[in-house]
Symmetry: C2
Subunit: 466 residues, 2 copies
């Protein structure tokens, strides 16, 4: 029995910890509270603490740590800000957590090339503060002030993806430490390339299972001359989604197009003391020239009117826009506030936009039948939506019901040609859906994992079952 | 000696050819002329014919052919239209060429989702004809009427990439046959996903060395309400490039922005009987709403004027636009016509846009010192440019000089943070530059190649030296 348990969980033995402490000094911690904080993300997944936390300050340090872990066959779990949602940082097999938050330098900004180089621990807000006087910004906004390395590792996106793409489109290249401690640099600063396999895109979204991302070259965008925001309630979710479809099809370059269902609007009204209609509602943001923004807003207003959208409220003043988006950004907290003492279980699927209304409506009906509280928000320009199950953490039956609903939602999305996660990642929370989504391709992913990490020390138990 | 040669070049033995003929009937050919046509692309690389050509009509047939080749350890070389430029289809180690041109069905068009599914042999023009009545189009335009499978395999792009991206951004998913005959499907129809490794992007650009792409799901775009084109000569290449930089930095969503140098403009004037100034010249195309297109053209006209651009000629009529772009599309033939009986050696690098003027000017000076004729065209919005060396095929010294110039141009681009190929691919023509560009990352590419193709039968000798 003991031997079995040990085989399952290779201990980060004292010798390794001593070695790392000699190398890192104070920057290696085995303190319980610190280990716990590094074993729990912002989701409902339980804490699974690593054996020690190493606070790295350079790519070379990360390489040295990984080399020593490899020599001892001890797992390595990279950590950015701990704001992910599928248990990606849980140390399921113990091991050393590498905290990259000390790697927080913006290394280069090239305004002419619209790109920059950063260390992996820089957060998106810190990067945008750094860019403040350049006329440029980094658009990807997953909500949390996540680290850019973590965002790359989980292929994050969020509200702006409909216009600016996801981390897949905005990482030009990266530096990563592989399972044997090798340092590799992928991509170049050229905008495009046909030179060899796209290792950048292979590492983006690999969630630390192929390597630890330590530096990134990112694409930047010019801050648009003008921005405006709009909000518009609809009689039904289908009407709202049809407005989205037509907007996208006409090629209107909306920067954000977000759906909140009636339950979520009610929650936002209560939480943010607002007075919106309790109806399915679209929030828009338009970026462009002064004239272009007016044109986009007018066009979308006309489309919305065709689908019964009433009161297309349109704000160009920065403070009005902020108020609108603050309500959207607080949606998660507003949802939880509907039920004091509750815990949130956020979910994430993405479907072809033609199936979006159907997927949302079937899901809503299923949730209502089960009598579970679950407001909905969606990055609907991409076909991506989230339900947040608002649960009593003490009520096992309710949690089980939510898990069943979640499973049915994912299978529904897959049956519609969608994906089990648009932006949260697989972690270990969605491992069971990967095969259902990708079939034989999962075996190919496994071959790649085994080729690059034969000892299975890189964030083991995540993304791919080995 | 004989044993050595045989080890280097496994013969596509009679037994395999008999098997394939029994399976494919007339659709297997060993006719010399057909084999030769399949061993030569549109570049200066010599013909290296396969042992036989198999004309496949389905994914299952491709799988069966690859399985049989694997059993005999015989190489497989996929073939679309043969319009590539770095020798990617040369059967360097013999083997079976799989011609996919018979897989020419558009399988699905979903106007609401702005996507479609096609077999790999469908060419980009055929797809756009098929889409004619839908209000949608597929924008990637590498010049040649290439097959979409081939375009994916080489990560093609071309004139529209500055606005619409490359094949990397426009392939949502694909079906491929791997080295052991397994059929894998990658991606979903969802716009974005965080579910597992990005095998789509791994196969896009792998040039047949990891698998044969047989079907694709592609992103489509709405045909813009309005288009206009403009042409503008500049005193120097630097002035033209600075106009480009400022245009991109201001976020003007130009659809095309092409540079032709003075030599190329002279060639175009002669070939297409035109009267343009013999100066570095930018060709623009703007897509958008009626008002948006006017706004873009005015803005770019103002920028061009700041950098000495004269006579910003601006055409909205379709026939005027066509005339303008015809001259651009004929640039290669115009270059060759400067010297009757010549052969072209097209090249391709891509650099950060801030280094583009410098890279072009140093390259031009080098070419002039060497006394070689080499007009220049560039997709300059991406930092990508081509020289076409116009050579006397009988003059070995001149060809050698061109090869030296080419090598210096590539190394110059790499030193500036660029790539050895923006869109032509590695094939075997650029194998020697891959290591210089990617260093240790090439070893990682090799590990992936060996994991997925342990017998090295998938287009051997291309992209990665094994």
């Amino acid at each position: 029995m003991a031997a079995n348990a040990q085989a399952k969980r290779p201990p980060a033995n004292a010798a390794l910890i001593d070695e790392l402490r000699a190398f890192l000094g104070d920057r290696l911690s085995t303190v319980r509270a610190i280990r716990d904080r590094h074993g729990k993300d912002e989701s409902y997944h339980p804490t699974v603490a690593p054996d020690a936390v190493a606070f790295a300050e350079s790519t070379e340090e990360v390489a040295e740590i990984v080399k020593r872990c490899a020599a001892h066959r001890v797992p390595v779990v990279p950590f950015g800000t701990g704001t992910a949602l599928e248990g990606g940082i849980a140390a399921l097999h113990g091991g050393i957590c590498i905290d990259l938050s000390g790697m927080n330098q913006v290394l280069r900004v090239s305004a002419e090339d619209l790109d920059c180089a950063v260390q992996a621990g820089v957060t998106r807000k810190r990067l945008n503060e750094h860019l403040r006087d350049t006329g440029l910004f980094f658009p990807i906004d997953p909500g949390a002030d996540a680290s850019l390395g973590g965002m790359a590792a989980t292929r994050a996106s969020g509200t702006n993806a409909v216009r600016y793409g996801t981390m897949r489109e905005n990482v030009l290249g990266l530096t990563a430490v592989l399972a044997d401690g090798r340092i590799v640099r992928t991509g170049t600063r050229a905008r495009k390339s046909s030179a060899g396999y796209d290792l950048t895109r292979l590492l983006v979204g690999s969630e630390g299972t192929l390597g630890v991302i330590t530096e990134l070259t990112l694409r930047l965008h010019g801050i648009p001359e003008a921005m405006s925001a709009a909000v518009c309630p609809f009689p039904t979710v289908a009407d709202a989604v049809n407005t989205v479809i037509q907007t996208i099809q006409l090629g209107v370059p909306v920067a954000r197009i977000e759906l909140l269902d009636a339950t979520q609007m009610d929650a936002c009204n209560r939480y943010s003391k607002l007075n919106f209609a309790v109806l399915p509602t679209l929030f828009f943001e338009f970026h462009g020239t002064e004239r272009g923004v007016v044109e986009q807003a007018e066009l979308v207003g006309d489309i919305a009117a065709e689908f019964g959208g009433s009161e297309f409220q349109w704000e160009t003043r920065a403070e009005d826009r902020s108020k609108l988006w603050q309500a959207r950004h607080d949606a998660y907290y507003a949802a939880l506030a509907l039920r004091p003492g509750s815990q949130g279980m956020p979910t994430d699927v993405c479907v072809p936009i033609s199936r979006l209304a159907e997927c949302i409506e079937e899901t809503r009906a299923d949730v209502e039948r089960a009598g579970v509280l679950a407001p909905l928000v969606g990055h609907v320009g991409d076909g991506n939506f989230h339900l947040v199950y608002v649960l009593d953490p003490e009520n096992a039956a309710e949690i089980e019901r939510a898990e069943e609903l979640h499973e049915r939602m994912v299978l529904r999305a897959l049956a519609m040609g969608g994906t089990c996660t648009g932006e949260h990642g697989i972690g270990y929370g969605k491992l069971r859906f990967l095969e259902a989504e990708h079939g034989e391709a999962v075996a190919v992913m496994r071959q790649i994992k085994q080729a690059l990490d034969p000892l299975n020390i890189m964030n083991p138990g995540k993304v791919i079952r080995v």
